[in-house]
């Protein structure tokens, strides 16, 4: 018999005390509250205490609090009487909302208030086009749309109340493919508005002339997927009103100026009556740049007279926050025998999902950056962004750049291979230089793309014969 494996199971033996006696009371006291260690000398001269300050590898003052678990993120905040909100998600990509019945939910013990799109004073917002409702009105545009919200004394009661809300839909055929959406015959996602809601053109030089002079012409198409930011901390906000009609909102928003403008609009409250405090945000990456739950908790807090908090579940992070634009990218490039790019045409179709959000910025950046960090005389780049009935795309680290970089750099390698030129060498031959003109004709300064190519090549041990050393 070998009991070796389980013998070391030691569990602390705890003397049980009946609650009520003095020790029992002491055990219950919330005295586990963390202690605050007094700052210690560090092992090295503190970069933070040095002058000059710039170029120092200074540690972050917030790092100590993070490491101790003492940083107060929004989910760590509680206000007396606080209610918890949950949002009912449509679960259908495109539909007309015929009826929302919240009466059963409202009857539940512990449910304090319910709101729907009808309760939102101005039910539209967005950083450029105001095409996004706070909660669905007459239409659902994607499956993650909110259709009603509940404030209850616990999160669990709020979650169970959502099950009691019934919504009647008239399903509509969803548009799910950006290229289908691009076609004129497709019914508009936001009819009568067209599906193409953004368009950008960059023209530099004469591409036809460039292609005519080219030794070879290469064509390729690329496509990228929809991805999520995945901040470890979910979106969350807390709202509370004072008796003067002023609302304070704690939130995980990275842009409080825009947030206040959107709240003033959707709540129809003057900006001077809105205070937004962004808490320490647990990851953003572009995903926390616009309002999500803030107007909802503000409305519920107003209706109940109590602080209201709403935290996204992890699934809501995926279905109801913004995502990265999938892009369909067509490239055509004319080169000399030596691999110098003479002309390049590009067509980009960005999938915007159900709402515009930060699509216009993404469209412009993707289009401007799409030729790559190369000195190209003749460029024609054209980009479209279209609606689909899918999760809205928006700001995400790189605004279209990772997508087009994947395309132009894959394309570059294929050209290099076809011309039998080393991939590093072809890039060096074409790279932008100090004073080069960008695709928009801007004279560039502090251009170091060649330096980064050479530095990375040296670090990696890149040698022209194809082997990493």
């Amino acid at each position: 018999m070998d009991r070796h494996d389980t013998e070391d199971k030691k569990s602390a033996v705890v003397e049980r005390k009946t609650p009520g006696d003095a020790l029992g009371e002491m055990l219950r006291a919330p005295a586990a509250a963390p202690l605050v260690p007094t700052p210690l000398e560090t092992l090295v001269p503190e970069a933070r205490q040095q002058t000059p300050a710039v170029r120092q590898r200074a540690t972050r003052p917030d790092a100590r609090l993070h490491g101790l678990g003492q940083t107060k993120y929004i989910d760590d905040m509680y206000f007396p009487g606080m209610l918890y909100a949950k949002i009912k998600r449509a679960g259908i990509a495109s539909a007309r909302v015929l009826r929302v019945d919240t009466s059963e939910a409202e009857k539940m013990p512990g449910v304090i208030a319910v709101v729907t799109g009808r309760d939102v004073p101005c039910n539209s917002f967005g950083p450029s086009l105001k095409d996004q409702p706070v909660l669905a009105g007459e239409r659902v545009f994607h499956a993650g749309d909110g259709v009603a919200a509940v404030a209850a004394v616990t999160e669990q009661i709020a979650a169970e109340a959502l099950e009691k809300i019934t919504v009647e839909y008239e399903p509509l055929t969803p548009v799910l493919d950006p290229l289908v959406s691009l076609g004129l015959e497709t019914p508009g996602v936001h009819a009568p508005s067209p599906n193409i809601y953004g368009h950008k053109v960059i023209k530099k030089g004469d591409v036809e002339k460039g292609f005519a002079a080219s030794h070879r012409i290469f064509e390729a198409s690329y496509r990228t997927q929809m991805v999520e930011h995945v901040p470890l901390e979910p979106h969350c906000s807390i709202a509370m009103w004072d008796a003067n009609g002023r609302v304070t909102i704690y939130t995980t928003l990275g842009r409080i100026t825009l947030g206040r403008a959107d709240l003033a609009r959707t709540l129809a409250v003057p900006m001077s009556r809105i205070r937004i405090i962004a808490t320490v945000v647990g990851g953003n990456f572009g995903g926390k740049n616009e309002i999500t739950t803030e107007p909802v908790v503000a409305l519920l807090a107003k209706k109940t007279g109590r602080p209201v908090k709403c935290t996204y579940t992890r699934p809501e992070e995926f279905i109801s926050s913004t995502t990265r634009h999938p892009i369909v990218m067509d490239y055509k490039t004319g080169v000399t025998k030596e691999g110098r790019i003479l002309a390049r045409t590009i067509r980009l179709v960005l999938e915007g999902g159900a709402y515009c959000s930060w699509s216009e910025t993404t469209l412009a950046k993707a289009c401007i950056l799409s030729p790559g960090p190369y000195d190209i005389e003749n460029i024609h780049a054209e980009a479209f962004v279209v609606y689909t009935n899918k999760t809205m795309t928006g700001a995400m680290r790189g605004f279209g750049a990772p997508q087009v970089c994947f395309a132009y750099e894959s394309h570059m390698d294929d050209i290099a291979k076809a011309l039998d030129i080393d991939p590093l060498e072809i890039r060096l031959r074409n790279a932008l230089r100090e004073g080069s003109l960008s695709p928009t004709g801007q004279q560039l300064q502090s251009v170091v793309v060649r330096d980064t190519l050479l530095q990375a090549a040296q670090r990696f041990g890149w040698s022209g014969d194809g082997a990493a050393s």
């Binding site: 602390a12 210690l40 760590d76 470890l232 647990g282 990851g283």
Partner: protein, 162 residues
């Protein structure tokens, strides 16, 4: 209601909670120890990692009643009044955390690793952190910090922020 009595960061504590309360909620809501985070609530992200009877666990997957009679250590239990835990010190010195939300969980996973294996290889460190998702750091500076703590533990000079 269920009564739970446990050793929490060295002190005996007790609380009455509904039976469906998770250990994470017990820590955060009953004891005010909000260092352990709720990131996914289903054991994927590891932000709620605490050490129970010497083993790292997802406190979102454990019921409070299952912790009854056990020894629980949370991020709040590592430092003393006058001294940070070496992991806390090195995570600070190396810039290992960015938004910090995953940090307490990562540090608890690292502590559980070093308690059992004071001299882990890089692969063993990566394996120990695989249950802690981080979106900010790419894990590199966390691994560096853990290696530095391990080096220090072996009597080699700790290399701090250069």
């Amino acid at each position: 209601m269920a009564t739970v009595t446990l050793t929490l960061n060295g002190d005996v504590r007790t609380a009455s909670v509904p039976p469906e309360t998770t250990l994470l909620r017990l820590l955060r809501e009953e004891f005010g120890l909000t260092g352990s985070k709720l990131g996914c609530d289903v054991g994927d992200c590891g932000a709620c990692t605490v050490i129970v009877d010497g083993k790292s666990v997802n406190s979102c997957l454990m019921l409070a009643v299952q912790a009854d009679g056990r020894d629980v250590v949370t991020i709040e239990g590592l430092a003393t009044m006058s001294r940070l835990h070496p992991l806390q010190q090195l995570f600070e010195d190396k810039g290992s955390l960015q938004c910090g939300f995953c940090g307490p969980g990562v540090i608890m996973s690292a502590k559980a690793l070093l308690d059992e294996n004071p001299d882990p290889s890089e692969q063993e460190i990566r394996d120990a952190l695989a249950g802690n998702l981080c979106r900010c750091t790419g894990y590199s500076k966390m691994i560096e910090a853990i290696q530095a703590v391990a080096r220090d533990g072996r009597g080699e000079p700790a290399k701090s922020a250069v």
